[in-house]
Symmetry: C2
Subunit: 214 residues, 2 copies
Amino acid sequence: MADSISMKNGKIVPDIVVSRLPLYLRSLARLQEEGKEVTSSQELATRLGFSSAQIRKDLSHFGEFGKQGTGYNIAFLREQLKAILNLDIEWQVALVGVGDLGHALAHYGRFSQKGFRITALFDNDPAKIGMEINGVVVQSHDEMVESIKKAGIRIAILAVPVKVAQETADKLVKAGVRAILNYAPITLSVPPEVKVQNIDPIAHLQKMTYYCQR
Amino acid sequence: MADSISMKNGKIVPDIVVSRLPLYLRSLARLQEEGKEVTSSQELATRLGFSSAQIRKDLSHFGEFGKQGTGYNIAFLREQLKAILNLDIEWQVALVGVGDLGHALAHYGRFSQKGFRITALFDNDPAKIGMEINGVVVQSHDEMVESIKKAGIRIAILAVPVKVAQETADKLVKAGVRAILNYAPITLSVPPEVKVQNIDPIAHLQKMTYYCQR
């Protein structure tokens, strides 16, 4: 959906490489939890189902992280990848739509564990406006643009019904949001400087049924 | 994560092409809802952010669906894509893990609207076993293999904590499941005949922060 290649700091890294960095990070965190201190592209490859050559090539876009024969220091590589992905700071996140899904997302502890703090909630249902979830008060859509601008929030999670998804995305963009995690089953139209990632469980299931025997 | 190319009925279609078919289907459904009867690769391209050449090439893997100059009959193309993706039948789905996320998924109406009926629920929490959600009784993990085998269920949604995700996936595979929609933030190890699609909102957010200014 996104451009396959994007430039950042004059450096061109294929989008697909950037997509894999969070998976490396996830594996490194697991390895560290298991008490390991050093790993290899081969070990990461086995865990992730990629080839070790691909892992080495992906990482080579960003620098030299390991030594031939001694592998990678897990803590160091983890810190480096976090810095590359701008994860050494905490991000404020706005969550729009506090229905069943939005509610579950508001309570999903992994967001704050991983440095994404949901600091603003929005919904258009009068019954929900004013409600407090995890210490954050639900505001109306009318307050969205000003409130997000004021707080300087750049990341939003969109969990609204399809029919209001595009107009809500337009407001988010107007408010300065530059990254949207979109749960509405629709392809959003946004300016090129805004990144969108889509989560649609139906599309994932439909892809797999292609391979399923009836 | 999955193989980039898979064979089905002796036909080789790149995995990435299969991934896009559900998005075409989603757009066609929207167009039909808007009262349209005919569309073009150009119109689909604009809506999806792909090139029209790519859409024509993707579809050409499966046959001739449109006529030069007259475009695609939406209803016909939709039916064809549904048949290609095995969506002209209803699929039974097992949902494992009825925590906050699993609960929201069990109530997500779009699954059954799109032909994925959640007919089995599993959890290991004694407080949840025996509970009824949307007419389906939550069973224990101990009953999983036999119950799924007996019902002939081939698709499962995995919404359990990381620490039990792999062992649960092993049980699902043993029970005959061939497609797993995995919400646990871990790369599952499964035999080649089993497809896995991963949904990890953190990985999606982390990919976007790469492009975000601090």
